[in-house]
């Protein structure tokens, strides 16, 4: 079973929950898909086996075949192509690697080139965890090809936890698409609720089953819980606002190591989700 951990708002505790849950469950694949800011390795401290380059499509132009029809320029939503003085210029750093320009080119003037956009690291961590994380190279616009490649490494017969990036942009959509279940971590504040609503709408469109974990319970107000009740969204777990958890986080220590009583709770949560998915 593949469980993704996402949130609307950033900083609600995705990695806090994902890493502690991974250690509590053990013997699973852990994917840190927050490739713009991977940080799960601080907590799981994997022994890395190697780094693999991720390469993505960029258009390469043969000016002799180009008829200056402008189709590629008009198609590109990211302004990675321009046509001035009868010449197509390409800005590879703006290209999102969709390949549309190549498909549309009527004269075959665009061929497939590639460039490195990031890396994937694979290693092993405590409790039999297979650790996989990705890192987007600085200056690249899209983390999607890296996340897609990471998800290609998933062994569907195993238990899998995916730590997603925050928000509901392409990176989050790619991370949570086609998983068996998504846990949305939120905090009980107006910001947490606002972004939770957006994440809920996204998951409904993606038809991914989901539930909510309220982190830092005790701060803010009751509106997140009221919202979940109205929308019939299961509140899977509440993690209290705790100085001990925050201190452990600041030192890169998963909170199950300082509060071992959470080991059982997080294990039970994963198993509860397994039951719900079946």
């Amino acid at each position: 079973m593949i469980v993704a951990i996402a949130s609307g708002k950033g900083g609600t505790g995705k990695t806090t929950l994902a890493t502690s849950m991974a250690l509590a469950v053990g013997e699973l694949q852990f994917l840190d898909c927050d490739v713009e800011e991977p940080n799960a390795y601080h907590f799981l401290k994997p022994v890395l086996k190697g780094t693999n380059s991720v390469r993505a499509f960029i258009p390469v132009l043969n000016p002799n075949l180009c008829s200056q029809c402008r189709k590629c320029v008009q198609f590109c939503q990211y302004n990675a192509l321009a046509l001035v003085k009868g010449r197509v210029i390409i800005f590879p750093e703006l290209c999102h690697s969709c390949g549309g320009c190549k498909i549309l080119c009527p004269t075959g003037a665009i061929r497939e080139g590639e460039r490195e956009i990031g890396t994937i690291q694979i290693g092993t961590a405590m409790e039999g965890i297979e650790f996989i994380d990705g890192a987007l190279n600085i200056g690249n616009p899209s983390s999607v090809p890296i996340i897609r490649k990471m998800k290609g490494l998933i062994d569907e017969d195993r238990r899998v936890i995916i730590d997603s990036s925050p928000g509901t942009s392409c990176a989050m959509v790619e991370s949570v698409s086609e998983v068996d279940y998504c846990i949305l971590v939120t905090e009980p504040t107006p910001f947490g609720l606002n972004d939770l609503r957006i994440a809920v709408e996204t998951l409904k469109m993606l038809q991914v089953p989901f539930g909510v974990v309220i982190n830092r319970d005790g701060i803010g107000d009751e509106r997140v819980e009221e919202y979940c009740k109205e929308e019939k969204i299961e509140v899977l777990l509440k993690i209290p606002d705790s100085r001990e958890i925050a201190e452990a986080y600041s030192k890169g220590i998963p909170f199950v190591e300082v509060l071992p009583e959470w080991r059982g709770k997080l294990q039970a949560l994963y198993e509860h989700i397994e039951g719900a998915v079946e």
Partner: protein, 130 residues
């Protein structure tokens, strides 16, 4: 000579918009006859590459020079390939700016005056937004 000036409004009394790619309007003016028109900048809402999209539009308009406050690296590359001269550091009204241009008082920019994305921050156009 046909020139494009980045503008915050649609007439010659408007002030120069210091941003190139994210400017509100372009005033396209014939510096000799002072005949002008305003054009909406299609790149205002671009998710990225606004400077390129704006430069493409300006090039399609057939202008020979651009006057603005600051210009980023992708815009300047596109404009220079298009053979369009770029004058930066402009401020004040469009009318005064045209006068200064005719008197040769404006500075030509041969390279970018700001980093990419500088125009996204409205508060400070010389710094990147985080």
């Amino acid at each position: 000579m046909k020139i494009a000036i980045t503008s915050s409004g649609k007439d010659l009394n408007s002030t120069v918009d210091p941003r190139f790619g994210r400017c509100s309007y372009f005033i396209i003016v014939d510096a000799d006859s002072m005949e002008f028109k305003s054009v909406d900048n299609p790149a205002v809402t671009a998710s990225g590459g606004a400077g390129i999209q704006a430069a493409q539009m300006i090039a399609d308009e057939g202008v020979e020079a651009v006057i603005t406050g600051n210009v980023g690296p992708n815009a300047i590359r596109t404009l220079s390939i298009a053979g369009i001269e770029v004058y930066s550091g402009a401020r004040g009204t469009i009318e005064d700016t045209i006068k200064l241009f005719k008197e040769g008082e404006l500075t030509k920019a041969d390279s970018a005056t700001v980093n990419s994305h500088a125009g996204i921050s409205e508060r400070d156009n010389t710094r990147r937004r985080w």
